[in-house]
Symmetry: C2
């Protein structure tokens, strides 16, 4: 039969990254294309012990239906952790547990956007969330970044130009795909513009706790006097992405809309995973765990950065992230980026073409993304050597 | 600030049932309002052992990102189980793992419905899915049931009358909230009407394996020659709802749309839970487990049915389900149902007013829903005694 699919999905394609990931499961290929935590970053022994204890002491609570808002002790942990950074204020904000950071953004989008309303994102940005915006038939508009973050002048123009700009989506810390970090000054300017032109900011922060150089910068949420910042966090990069546990801190009116959207989406998130996260946060030395993660990612970043320095031609410009999982490489005009990304797997290395992260087919880029968290130390060096050769 | 929420959610209220559930956590109250599996129905010891084994033998696979389509061995199990009942045919159908049955329906809806398109459901029907339809600004229309299931004549009229009827949502086995089972004849008639008038059927079947009396009736999916039935199943009622693992069997074109919708919603479902389900299905005597569940629900149903017989006035008519979790009670005109449902908790028993399950504010009912799976045996008797007294 001929299916009459909705307009929302009829033009939606599977994420380019996940398609590339499938390709990179070809045995022997070195994948710089993933965004997975390092396998040695998982607190396996603690999770094993804690899971056994939960299923012995409290199995019915771990297996029965639970409430949409999330496991209460975990919500309290999240509130306490966010409060330390000013990203949650008792009485002014509320917290919901989501099925990963992706769901946090998707439900925020569903709560605010009518079809045709505009959502603005940094260009380039995380393709998973861009596709979520597309899946609501939103008018998705990209605004360029400079070294300090999203361009405030260009953002101002876009907000004035585009219809019904309700949301601006940013990843201030170690942005996916560029690895860039928005400066404190730019965060303030962005928040002030939100107040002036009346839009809501989605601050997506899955990598904020993976800073391995420099000092933490206050979150945009910590500047939020008017309740116009939706802060989304995740345990995917610091505990386990397979568990699908994230969270949102926002004004109670916003959270109550996200709750009804989540209720019709998946009722609640896997409850055992929420209980595991709670115990990891409260019964283990979680700060030491985070410190160990930062050591792993600092080492891996430096190995890749050193190999790039050694093997890449000097006219290839790369970002120098102080945290997160990604490096962004900008190619000179003499190299065709798409052709390069197509040839690389044949030489044994997969990277993601920058075009995957663009908001609109009108935008263009000659850059590609490299991940340093998933490959082994040896693969990081070997892969850069192969890419360097290909870059001539 | 004044929030400009989307039209989709601005009229959406939290599910009446979940609100009632919150109220029924008042200590001492007997809740007939839930839809939870019986606590002794969970295979706790097997889950504990299996989880320990997975986290010892294969922890990284259980914690790392996985693919959107679901854990491959579990998909194979589901295909094999469905194939036995004709609900999956190799080459003609495909399977995706979802975060519970709720997500299966919600993503099907997102895949097909533009705003204003019509989805028809049995009236009354499961409020969680009705709210999912509302959350896409669909034109939600209810069609009455008789003793055999949804009325084909009234459905035909509705499909011809309403704009762009794309989907018809039914729960053929032990329907929530009525406990009714659609006859084989009615299933054939429904499928033939779908072919004649060109709509897609969502066959939601969370209770099909909980038949405790009578013989299984072939699924609508097993009649599906044209690829117009989306079959949604769930492990919530037969393993654990807290795990949030369900699945869909449908034509590959439909599944690929559901995959892109799921990708932007939660990337994939909790992977440890999928691995646990796989091992339970393949390494334990799962048929014996199902048989034990049926014994539990048959006993609990009979206790409640006997107590109703003993304590309820004869002019209160109740359904006599052969499976599932619910009894539907129809009140005579002399009793105001809403007033009764409000008074019951004050006497110590909570039930759900039938109005919670209606598709439209224009529809009306003088019925309420009772659940027999969650209360203890003593509570089933005591609760019916109290309700009987209140019903005069």
């Amino acid at each position: 039969m001929e299916y009459k699919f909705s307009e929302k999905v009829s033009n939606l394609k599977p994420s380019a990254i996940r398609e590339i990931l499938k390709m990179t499961s070809v045995p022997g290929i070195i994948s710089f294309a993933a965004g997975n935590p390092a396998p040695d970053a998982f607190p396996v022994e603690d999770i094993k012990r804690i899971t056994g204890e939960i299923l012995s002491a409290d199995p019915i609570a771990a297996l029965q239906y639970s409430i949409t808002e999330g496991y209460v002790p975990l919500r309290e942990d999240v509130k306490a952790r966010l409060a330390k950074k000013g990203s949650y204020i008792e009485g002014k904000d509320e917290v919901i547990i989501t099925s990963g950071g992706q769901q946090a953004t998707e439900l925020s989008c569903k709560s605010f956007l009518n079809e045709g309303d505009t959502i603005i994102a940094e260009s380039p940005s995380f393709v998973g969330c861009l596709n979520a915006f597309r899946s609501y038939n939103a008018n998705l508009v990209g605004v360029e970044m400079d070294e300090e973050g999203i361009s405030i002048e260009k953002l101002r123009d876009a907000v004035k130009r585009e219809p019904n700009v309700k949301l601006v989506y940013v990843i201030p810390n170690f942005q996916n795909p560029t690895g860039k970090c928005m400066t404190a000054k730019r965060r303030r300017e962005l928040y002030e513009l939100a107040c002036e032109l009346d839009f809501v900011i989605i601050e997506d922060d899955p990598y904020g706790e993976l800073r391995f150089e420099g000092e933490d910068i206050p979150t945009i949420k910590s500047l939020d006097k008017e309740g116009r910042v939706i802060y989304a966090g995740s345990f995917s990069k610091i505990i386990s992405p397979g568990m699908r546990v994230g969270y949102v801190s926002a004004a109670p009116e916003i959270i109550s809309k996200i709750v009804v959207c989540k209720q019709v989406s998946d009722v609640h998130s896997n409850i055992l995973a929420q209980m595991i996260c709670h115990r990891l946060l409260t019964e283990t030395d979680f700060d030491s765990h985070l410190s160990k993660l930062r050591d792993i990612y600092r080492r891996k970043y430096r190995i890749m950065a050193d190999a790039i320095e050694k093997y890449f031609p000097k006219d290839v410009k790369v970002t120098k992230p102080q945290g997160g999982l990604f490096i962004w490489a900008d190619l000179p005009d003499r190299i065709d980026m798409l052709e390069f990304c197509r040839q690389a797997p044949a030489q044994g290395v997969a990277v993601v073409p920058g075009t995957a992260f663009l908001c609109s087919p009108k935008d263009s880029t000659n850059s590609f993304r490299m991940n340093f968290s998933t490959p082994t130390d040896e693969q990081l060096v070997k892969g850069c050597e192969i890419l360097g050769r290909l870059l001539g």
